[in-house]
Symmetry: C2
Subunit: 635 residues, 2 copies
Amino acid sequence: MAPTAGAISALRPLPLDAVRLEPDGLLGQWQERNAAASLPHCVVRLEESGALENVRRAAGQGDRGFTGMWFADSDVYKTLEAAAWRLSDPAADDRLRDFVAATAALLIKAQQDDGYLNSYFTTVKPDLRWQELDWSHELYCAGHLIQAAVAAARAGAAPELMTVARRLADLLVERFGPGGTDGVCGHPEIETALVELYRETGHRPYLDLARRFVDLRGHGLLGDGRFGPAYFQDHLPVREAGEVTGHAVRQLYLLAGVVDVAVETHDTALLDAARRLWDDAFHTKTHLTGAHGSRHRDEAFGDPYELPPDRAYAETCAAIASLHWNWRMLLATGGHRYADEMERVLYNAVAGATAVDGRHFFYSNPLQVRTGHDGSDEDAPGQRLPWYSCACCPPNLARLMASLHGYVATTDDNGVQIHLYGAGTLRSTVRGADVEVTTRTAYPWSGRIELAVTATTPEPWTLSLRIPSWCDGCTLQVDGDVVAADPTDGYLRLTRSWGTPTAVVLDLPMPARLVAPHPRVDATRGCAALTRGPLVYCLEQTDLSEDVLLEDVRLDASAPVHVDEHAGLPHIPVTLTAGGTVRRPPTPGLYPAYPTTADRDDAPPRTALTAVPYFLWGNRDPGPMRVWIPVDHTG
Amino acid sequence: MAPTAGAISALRPLPLDAVRLEPDGLLGQWQERNAAASLPHCVVRLEESGALENVRRAAGQGDRGFTGMWFADSDVYKTLEAAAWRLSDPAADDRLRDFVAATAALLIKAQQDDGYLNSYFTTVKPDLRWQELDWSHELYCAGHLIQAAVAAARAGAAPELMTVARRLADLLVERFGPGGTDGVCGHPEIETALVELYRETGHRPYLDLARRFVDLRGHGLLGDGRFGPAYFQDHLPVREAGEVTGHAVRQLYLLAGVVDVAVETHDTALLDAARRLWDDAFHTKTHLTGAHGSRHRDEAFGDPYELPPDRAYAETCAAIASLHWNWRMLLATGGHRYADEMERVLYNAVAGATAVDGRHFFYSNPLQVRTGHDGSDEDAPGQRLPWYSCACCPPNLARLMASLHGYVATTDDNGVQIHLYGAGTLRSTVRGADVEVTTRTAYPWSGRIELAVTATTPEPWTLSLRIPSWCDGCTLQVDGDVVAADPTDGYLRLTRSWGTPTAVVLDLPMPARLVAPHPRVDATRGCAALTRGPLVYCLEQTDLSEDVLLEDVRLDASAPVHVDEHAGLPHIPVTLTAGGTVRRPPTPGLYPAYPTTADRDDAPPRTALTAVPYFLWGNRDPGPMRVWIPVDHTG
């Protein structure tokens, strides 16, 4: 049965241990790299940056002054959350277990008698507790602590973290709950955290407080700040807002919380508001890579169709937040488009933020870097950096990757739905019967997905397989027989008895595709982008001959694009090869008469263009890159 | 004789009273509006904003706390400078004279015993004087005071201002001169101001200090700040820099000072550095309107060819600074391209910053405003505002407009050069003889320029008339006879005896022209812009029928563009009419397959497109606007 559009909670997440991703697939490789490299790297950097020392100071240990951002506690909590998710794997490193235990012990000491916990305010501004909610990030940090505790609880680790989190949450309920202060945090996060805490504990006041935070937002409690109230999404109540605005991470974290509150309080009007904002975000303000944010000044969404590839802010945390929001929309509605966007943002914006070594990260993820790019500072670095003075992104990546297996599939009363394809095994129950789906696939390098399905019951149930929106002409075999593959609402729904082990082979054809920008997107007019399957491709200067500048390359959109699985580039299993031309600019003048001389040159030199997956760019020689390639209209 | 490329000081400015612009021409109208509306408005706003009150407090009058930006003194000084220029006109309002006298009296009182003068540091941070040069703007404010005093001296007004300025300048020489502190200001301005003071006083230490500030810059004295040392142009000495970088106003003010120092110290190497940076700025980083700055975050130049029309920062002060810099380059070299850029920036970026009422101003001057633009805050307002919390631009416009007559012509040993055409009269001397050139013209609405030339000597001298780079096929008549019009290096040079009054008629044909962006400019690819003479034109939503969005309009580049002098739009003497089509977007999807459905629709509705001068946009109904119009390639 297809989920009903208006339903709340159409799908349910699987338990943490239901899915295991294997390292012979890309998703499993990412998880493994995260465990082996990124997570230990974060732990080291927490120490080096002083973030852990700040907490020690609040715990009465050490006397170094506060260092780093005033919300650096959140780096600790996000790393703690990532470690907790990882601890659910028996193969987790003992040092990680030690880190969690030691940090939990530290937090117990740093927590004040009344439950308050924030190393910056405790040690630097004790008199201003709760007085600067617009920029203080106190509730934001509290939210990340709560998320860490929820993760630990689900992973069966460090139960003392839940005690710390609940003491803090109880303080929040007392202070900000009904009858308490009317206040909201300048940076959303507490909303979704409180709902998760409610789910874990069943304690209703947490949910009520989350709902209160959602409802109080949009009434000007935060003031104008530096960028106006829309920056904080405090200009309009979310139920009335028609557009995503302001700081992209704030907006997207808020919307994750909004859906959580809507689902748990059965508030269809609130979910409708989220749907409306989703339409605005994904129809007018999303980069091809799934990234969000078009302005560096306030790390913000821009106007509709303002999608500059070069100055895309496209913050890593916003990409993660988009995945979180879409996941919640998917659970609430079952709509395939949310899973499509999860896939897009995961394989492009999120994946591209981490270097192949797992120890260097992007904060901003532009779709173009020019020759002569001033990439020396943290605003838009030309290559991934090991850490940032505002280090929100690296540990955010760590917590997402450590919990990635939780996002690939869901369940409902009728069966199991697979949304993201990765090699691994899913074990769940459907109406009391054990079911198991083992997936073998080289996705996204190949569109062939082999599933072995079995169940402890002959009762029929439905295995739903997402057919990505980019896919035309998928084919299906069941036990070797070709069967009709007609997706409904974005899913192939196979309803049958799986009592006998069954081999299902889904084939998603993955030719190279050219996509165009919407005609209202000014910044990429006259360009096309190369994609294959869920992957956006890009050109890098390093793949061009030395005498050709990336700026002067044009795409011959009429030439076939070849898929090459044997290009032999390091870390890059599949490249695309397109036809192109080189249009050397005629004069130094910026504004020649129309048409330009370059347009009139009808025999430009031809060149083969090698495109690599966007998420792997910048892993060889750092240099110019572009996703959107100008099309040679006369070529 | 054409000026030699390597010469220093090829041309000389005329005395302040040499040129009088008449209000039957546009330049004269701007000056009149400035005197009647903008300048009195600035005086009122100085009071309302507290900027004058700050100075009163420093003078021991009143006890209100400091309000506004810490560099608000500069608003006072710039208004004072504007008023001083205006006082050179006998028709100046007595209230303006009173303002200058009262403000000068106030500054005498506010100045400290040792000559220090800065109301913020005196009243708020007395212990930090000169300690925060990176952001303090102390030397910047000092520079504007000096500029005001120089203006007053040249206008023969308020000589006590020169005393105040010299006391402060002498303190700077003592503190920062040879043997003193190595320091530079985070915001250049003092450099050009000190050279001007040297020119006015002949006191060499002022020039030496200006040179020292130029030479000390680029050695990291300012630290990293928030945006890195390139923001302040402190990453490389100007003699080594190959690119304009960072905050555009800072960079351009610095370069004005650099040329001043180069000219007065006969430093050709330093002038070469300015030439090199000019090439970078004007070949890769200048908007079609002559504006500079592509990034809002740090109000900065972007990478080469990063020229977004929508997020053009294009600060009004940067446009003014470009005019100042180009003027100095013109004087130093005689090169026509500098006068071309003066004209471009004056008639577009500078002129557009002021509303027709003279009392509303843009801070940022984008080349596109979208439907749905979030124009509510000061960052990129959708319409001109009466004042800004950082109010640098309005009084900067006032001082430029009040001194505009000083920029239209120059002299050298051989004659007189006219660079900007405005109705009015020029009186000067050439080799001891009086010469007079009276200009009648409706420029830029018409390209016909009628000059009446006379001299008190039969000795031949050269009248040079700039032929703008946009002009093809100019014609010339002398006393009714058509004569050959062959410009050399951008100027028609008429060498003859002018002892008998002579009628010269120069005709610069002004058809509508389509210009293209350089092929490396990504943000406006596939677009053309309409221009006529020096004016850039734009489309406004208000001129489209209600059911057509500006975003969906396409230009038919093959259709003729008509010049209409009778469109009857308020304030707009000449409109252009082009052929266009309407391409309604096919689907809500942001990234359809290439080519888009819109491209395939071969019979889009046609529409006539009315274009208005960019500098007059936003004077009717506020709404979307665009300079660069997508070309319908299939239309």
